[in-house]
């Protein structure tokens, strides 16, 4: 299948620092492509380049085979590239429904005033949340009362509702417990089945293997190649992420528990 979104030889330099030194990456509709990398591998820079926060220093971004350039995040969003940031997705003090429509509030006109259509916002929020398997007490429940996994799910549902074609998830499971992780992974699976291309960024090999169709390892700003599901073992992925050598030594001292 032709890739929906593709990055070719993308580099990003900050002054004298080469944050990305040649990234090749693609994702197709209905596919979950996992991007694995340790801390400092360049994951954040890569996400920000994909979502339009940074313009690449060199290389090309392609959407359906057409080259695209994003000046700011809004342009990426209008092309259907939505990013869910790990801890900046939701505002805890605001209700689920206000959060869901933040920046995209539905409006209605009454007596010449342009009003926030609360009824519609509440109804859509409850419907979309139910589809994702989350039962809210009500649309006015504050996001602060939701668990971390539920917050991620609300953010994902929001991105999908507003027409995301490529969904970038920035370590959605890294701060979660076992059960919440399972919920988020189930959500990712559900989203993928709807034909959305998912870019799943993580440093947890187990989570990646649970939902991923393809796996790309990022190390020191470069992609080290892509493997299909079933072609690679967790140990190999782990070694690639850590740059091989050091982890082998460490592993023997830890008795193979990493």
């Amino acid at each position: 299948m032709d890739p929906l979104f593709e990055m070719q030889d993308v580099e990003k330099h900050f002054g004298t620092v080469i944050a990305l030194g040649g990234v090749n990456f693609s994702v197709s509709e209905g596919e979950c492509h996992c991007l694995l990398g340790d801390n400092g591998a360049g994951k954040s820079t890569l996400i920000k380049t994909m979502s339009g926060v940074h313009a690449p220093t060199s290389g090309r971004l392609l959407m359906r085979g057409q080259e695209v350039r994003f000046e700011d995040p809004r342009q990426a969003i209008s092309q259907g590239i939505a990013t869910v940031y790990q801890d900046l997705a939701m505002i805890p003090l605001m209700s689920v429904s206000r959060n869901f429509f933040m920046g995209n509030e539905p409006i209605k006109r009454r007596f010449g005033f342009i009003l926030f259509d609360h009824e519609r916002a509440d109804k859509v929020t409850m419907d979309e949340m139910r589809k994702m398997g989350i039962n809210l007490r009500g649309p006015h429940q504050a996001v602060g009362t939701l668990s971390g996994g539920e917050r991620q799910t609300v953010a994902i549902a929001r991105a999908v509702y507003f027409g995301a074609k490529v969904l970038i998830l920035d370590e959605p499971t890294s701060a979660l417990g076992v059960r919440q992780t399972a919920n988020v992974l189930a959500t990712v699976d559900r989203v993928r089945e709807n034909g959305i291309a998912v870019v799943f960024i993580t440093h947890n090999v187990r989570h990646a293997l649970a939902v991923g169709d393809r796996f790309t390892v990022l190390n020191r700003g470069k992609t080290l190649g892509t493997a299909n599901k079933g072609e690679i073992t967790p140990e190999e992925l782990q070694d690639l992420m850590a740059g091989g050598q050091e982890l082998v030594e460490l592993e023997s001292s830890l008795g193979g528990t990493v």
């Binding site: 995040p73 809004r74 969003i77 990013t83 940031y85 900046l88 997705a89 939701m90 505002i91 805890p92 003090l93 605001m94 206000r98 429509f101 933040m102 920046g103 995209n104 509030e105 409006i107 005033f113 342009i114 009003l115 926030f116 609360h118 409850m126 139910r130 039962n135 809210l136 007490r137 009500g138 504050a142 602060g144 009362t145």
Partner: protein, 369 residues
């Protein structure tokens, strides 16, 4: 909300707890308590006669006008400590333009409004561009504006009070919008019915003791309705909450956070300017010391009204009730004959109680431990 799929771990919450999460609750309870308290303590003192009511509602309306601006700004996550100085500055500018420069009063008022909202925008712009806390930036403006307010009249007229605005404002269409009274015929009619006392002696003998509702009170009510409407019923209101709740998350969601914050600084300056114009039209003069400490009174009213100092949460209705409590207590202690310095003690205690209650409510909402 189909009950069959209800998560068994979601505990039903009591209506009381649900109500507690509303920002206005504390101030509604406070208002009831305050009125009951003075109802017993000062009922015979004339506090609840037409004149008494007019007295404390005028004082409350003053607090309300600046509290609305401070409330929306605080929900957007910023402070404005220059409100008091802005009041002094705006009043002085109107007096200088209209009396010293002999401009028509309506021109003076319009130019002052433009000047003050521009200064509010400058406040906001500096906060946004430098990333400094608004507390520091507006503290600088507190001194800068107060300095100019004392300097200009001394430079021009060699005094710190400029009078004569009343004469200049006579028959001015815009001035009457700030300094006038409404509903005079109604009050005359009420007096004829014997519901309102009339003056028995002096030049105004036969006129009702309360002859109209000051424009100031209407401005306060208008601003409260406007602020509440914008905050709860429009998409811009959602942006105000979002900007104060978490500016970065709001930016990622496409909310124009900088524009929202700068507009709220401008609105805060606008409210200060409304206050100043009403005051100048009432007194007929502008003084360099007007508006002293008003910024803190506005913030206290907003906090009593249930807004969080950290932004992202609050209510204009709450802030208005906070201002009402403020005004009723200040004037009520006077009516009850209590030593007025005790008002400050009361204020401090009230502020502390409100902040503690708000912090507790915040924990309930966000589930923090």
């Amino acid at each position: 909300m189909s009950d069959s799929t209800q998560d068994e771990r979601i505990k039903n919450i009591s209506p009381l707890r649900q109500a507690l999460v509303r920002p206005e609750l504390g101030s509604i309870a406070g208002t009831i308590i305050v009125f009951l308290f003075f109802g017993f303590l000062a009922f015979d003192s004339g506090m609840f006669s037409p004149r008494g009511v007019l007295n404390w509602s005028t004082v409350s309306a003053q607090f309300m006008i600046i509290a609305v601006g401070a409330c929306l700004l605080m929900i957007a996550g910023e402070f404005d400590l220059s409100v008091g100085s802005m009041i002094g500055f705006a009043g002085m500018m109107i007096a200088i333009f209209s009396v010293t420069l002999q401009w028509p009063v309506w021109t003076s008022i319009c130019v002052t409004f433009v000047l003050c909202t521009a200064l509010g925008a400058l406040n906001g712009y500096i906060v946004i561009r430098t990333g400094l806390p608004s507390f520091i930036v507006t503290l600088a403006f507190l001194f800068i504006l107060r300095g100019f307010t004392i300097f200009f009249p001394q430079l021009i007229e060699r005094k710190t009070i400029i009078g004569g605005v009343s004469d200049a404002a006579d028959r001015d269409w815009l001035a009457s919008l700030f300094g006038g009274k409404v509903g005079e015929p109604v009050f005359v009619w009420l007096a004829d019915l014997g519901l309102i006392d009339v003056f028995e002696r002096g030049s105004r003998a036969g006129q009702p003791v309360v002859d109209g509702i000051p424009a100031l009170i209407l401005w306060a009510i208008g601003l409260v309705i406007f602020g509440h409407f914008v905050l709860t019923r429009t998409r811009f209101g959602n942006w105000i909450f979002a900007s104060g709740g978490d500016a970065q998350a709001a930016r990622y969601a496409g909310v124009p956070v900088n524009r929202v914050k700068i507009l709220m600084f401008m609105f805060s300056a606008f409210c200060a300017c409304v206050f100043a114009t009403c005051q100048v039209m009432e007194f007929g003069s502008a003084g360099a010391d007007r508006g002293l400490l008003k910024e803190f009174e506005a913030i206290i009213a907003v906090v009593i009204g249930g807004a969080l100092l950290t932004g992202g949460y609050g209510s204009v209705i709450g802030a208005a009730l906070g201002a009402l409590i403020f005004g009723v207590v200040q004037q009520g202690l006077f009516f009850a004959g209590v030593e007025s310095s005790l008002f400050r003690v009361f204020l401090g205690v009230l502020l502390l109680a409100a902040v503690i209650l708000n912090t507790y409510i915040r924990r309930i909402i966000t589930g923090e431990k």
